[in-house]
């Protein structure tokens, strides 16, 4: 539905008072913050990689393709993610699924996501009508060749298997209703920190 004129609310910029117009309170506030930093020196540097960062829950890392209750790929190859993707990094080839899976019309024959092109904006996750593609909290993604960074359907499914039990990566969206992550009061501890998928560095360790 196009946006109706009655649904649009026009708001005015609040007017500045006399003191606000002088900018003196703002200058004083800035000086206060600067002084606090000078006096109470808290270290903000994290000792990565010995110490893993505590990322916010909405951090967008490597993608995964979720499985449904029967272990099949959830994706129905509607290509909404490929349409929404501003970096054009998703290419899907669809096929007819009705022969093998009577409850489904369509499934991806191949699903290729170029992690090098991806800008991790999360539009694919937002566009997905069946909660199939999601971004996990895996941030340390490396590879030695371009091919290693081109994720196929199997690789994306294996990331699901790897991350599905991680409390930081629950299946988040449920058709409009927010997932369990939205109900967490504080961030879960990163005790079961996810491992990056088959990166050469992980092999060396």
């Amino acid at each position: 539905m196009p946006i109706q004129e009655k649904d649009v609310v026009w708001i005015e910029e609040p007017e500045l008072s006399f003191w606000e117009q002088t900018f003196l309170p703002a200058v004083a506030g800035g000086l206060k913050v600067a002084m606090q930093h000078t006096v109470a020196q808290r270290s903000v540097t994290e000792q990565y990689p010995e110490q893993k960062p505590d990322l916010p829950l909405h951090y967008r890392g490597v993608h995964r393709l979720n499985r449904d209750e029967q272990g099949r790929v959830r994706c129905v190859a509607c290509m909404m993610c490929a349409t929404a993707c501003p970096a054009h990094c998703i290419s899907i080839v669809a096929e007819d699924a009705s022969k093998d899976w009577p409850d489904r019309d369509k499934r991806p024959q191949s699903f290729v996501l170029d992690e090098l092109r991806c800008i991790f904006c999360g539009m694919c996750e937002e566009a997905c009508p069946c909660d199939a593609i999601e971004l996990t909290s895996i941030y340390d993604l490396t590879g030695q060749t371009r091919e290693q960074m081109t994720f196929t359907k199997d690789k994306l499914l294996s990331i699901y298997d790897q991350t599905k039990d991680n409390p930081r990566d629950p299946v988040r969206t449920h058709r409009g209703r927010l997932g369990c992550a939205s109900e967490l009061e504080r961030q879960p501890l990163s005790a079961t920190s996810p491992k990056p998928p088959e990166s050469p560095r992980a092999k060396k360790q």
Partner: protein, 567 residues
């Protein structure tokens, strides 16, 4: 009668100029539109002239009216001679209501809007809303009309009744029964246009669905049209199923090259790959439809066998070269042969060439010497003209609505007009081959283009004595195997130009994709061969042809989408 005077049209402005001939006038949402004196329009057509869209599913201009979908309900009234307007108390289906002088149509009143929203809600009650997996999404009238005229939420609390999809109804068509809105366009098409009557409505009430009679699938030559007719995603093309989302397709106007009917089409492509052809409405050419031979006959465009680069014979082997070398070699061979004996130089112009290409080649060769002979390539004729609708026994009925022509080339008339102008007579390719076999042809320029083959092995054997054989074609053939110079050319989807159909209707074809690898569209090859400066631009070049060839003078004007009839 609940009034909605605010939305009623105000008193119309009178058309009181005495000298002016009074045209019948219809009022659409207060806006006056004139209709022709003898025109028989319904409310939908009259409203369209006033740029007002009346949503409709079951009505189609090429089919009979059933007024069953109830989507086009509008308020209709009459303007009396004294200027008062009397509206009918109920909304009526616009598709079934003819307009006359003084008819008043209201499509934007609260009553009409309510009727439209209620109809859509009803049609969507049991619709599966599987737009993500539906091929029609993006060009679906359920989506479009819901966006424009419908509710956004369904109030249905009960589970939807979803009928199972049909396993098989035809070789080219699938039926997703649950998406159907029972507009019966497809049923009426098979009864009225193809005349084959395979599809029908079975059961009644909420159990009704489209089906075939058991064991009688919809496999007639016009079957693909039911996919275009279907306003929702119920009938889908097996050929295109799940290949591409339609919003990625870019389409170019073109003309189907598979018979001399010259159906107007759209070529839908994405990333240099053609995905489908769709008919484009053109009452001068074919109407609303196209046949399956043309609809699915374009696959050779992406064939691996395509000739992909120019080649010339160097020593005893033919090797790939760049275009400059190939064209220089062609030019040199032609000039040498013309110098020694102009009568020994000949060319075969294919009826698959556009008018522009034929003109370029004919003009260039005739400018070398007027004695160069030009022949018309083989015009493939398969069987007899196939007329529709058919009767029960498969014979054509009297009122022909669609014809698949036996002449399977798109531009015989256009090429003939060019040959007539430059030579006065038309030589058949067979006569040239007889001369070639006798060794009287030194240099021969052959243009192919027919993707289903245009020269037999026996015919090609008579080319053995030709000293320089230039072949310009898109697919390998018996002739291309013997060519001394091979010029890889383009398919209809890669070229710009003009085709003239069996009735003398000239229509423009427009490039939609690039030619594969090193191959080039024919127009560009011949433009460079003729040594012209600048780039080949068919729409500009057409004027030059129109000025020189009186038979093609109609091409001088602006070429509209539906083409121009030659005199």
């Amino acid at each position: 009668m609940p009034s909605n005077e605010a939305n009623r049209p105000c008193t119309p402005k009178t058309n009181s100029d005495e000298n002016q001939i009074e045209m019948p006038t219809v009022l659409v949402n207060g806006k006056e539109v004139s209709i022709g004196d003898g025109e028989r329009l319904n409310c939908i057509q009259a409203a369209k002239r006033a740029d007002v869209e009346i949503p409709h599913y079951c009505w189609h201009p090429a089919l009979t009216v059933v007024a069953s979908c109830r989507m086009c309900l509008v308020e209709v009234g009459d303007k009396k001679p004294d200027g008062t307007v009397a509206m009918q108390p109920k909304v009526v289906p616009g598709c079934q209501t003819p307009v006359k002088d003084g008819t008043v149509i209201v499509t934007n009143s609260a009553k009409v809007k309510q009727a439209q929203a209620a109809t859509l809600e009803y049609l969507l009650l049991n619709h599966p809303l599987d737009c993500p997996t539906c091929d029609q999404a993006g060009e679906c009238f359920l989506q479009d009309y819901t966006y424009k005229f419908g509710h956004m939420q369904s109030r249905l609390m009960e589970p939807k009744t979803l009928k199972p999809d049909k396993d098989y109804i035809g070789d080219q068509v699938t039926l997703f029964t649950d998406r159907c809105v029972m507009c019966t366009r497809c049923v009426r098409f098979t009864r009225e246009v193809s005349g084959t009557g395979e599809l029908q409505v079975i059961n009644r009430g909420s159990h009704e669905e489209i089906d075939i009679f058991p064991g009688m699938p919809i496999n007639n030559k016009l079957a693909g049209n039911v996919v275009d007719l279907c306003p929702v995603g119920a009938l889908c093309s097996k050929d295109f199923l799940y290949k591409q989302r339609v919003w990625w397709l870019k389409s170019a106007d073109s003309v189907c090259p598979d018979c001399s009917t010259g159906c107007s089409i759209n070529v839908d492509q994405n990333n240099e790959t053609v995905f489908r052809l769709k008919p484009r409405e053109n009452s001068q050419a074919q109407g609303h439809f196209m046949c399956d031979d043309g609809r699915f006959g374009w696959k050779y465009i992406h064939s691996d066998a395509r000739l992909k680069r120019p080649e010339i014979v160097q020593g005893d082997r033919r090797t790939a070269v760049d275009w400059d070398s190939a064209l220089n070699a062609t030019r040199a061979a032609l000039q040498d042969a013309v110098k020694s004996n102009p009568k020994s130089v000949a060319a075969v112009l294919s009826p698959w060439m556009t008018v522009e290409e034929a003109y370029l080649l004919a003009k260039h060769l005739k400018s070398l010497s007027p004695d160069v002979r030009l022949a018309l390539g083989p015009v493939r004729v398969d069987g007899e003209d196939d007329h529709y609708p058919k009767d029960v026994r498969g014979n054509a009925q009297a009122n022909v609505k669609f014809t698949i022509r036996a002449e399977k080339c798109p531009n015989r008339r256009g090429v003939e007009a060019v040959l007539q102008h430059f030579q006065g007579s038309i030589i058949a390719m067979g006569d040239l081959l007889v001369d070639a076999a006798a060794g009287r042809v030194e240099c021969l320029y052959l243009v192919g283009g027919d993707p289903r083959g245009w020269i037999t092995e026996d015919q090609a054997a008579s080319l053995a004595k030709v000293k320089t054989l230039v072949v310009q074609d898109l697919l390998p053939s018996a002739a291309s195997a013997r060519a001394h110079v091979l010029l890889a050319s383009g398919s209809f989807a890669e070229r710009d130009g003009t085709f003239v159909n069996h009735a003398g209707l000239a229509q423009a074809i427009k490039r939609s994709i690039r030619s594969p690898e090193e191959s080039r569209p024919d127009g560009r090859i011949l433009w460079d061969l003729a040594g012209r400066t600048g780039l080949f631009n068919a729409s500009v070049f057409r004027h030059e042809i129109a000025q020189e060839i009186p038979a093609l003078s109609a091409l001088a004007g602006e070429m509209c989408d539906s083409g121009v009839l030659l005199k």
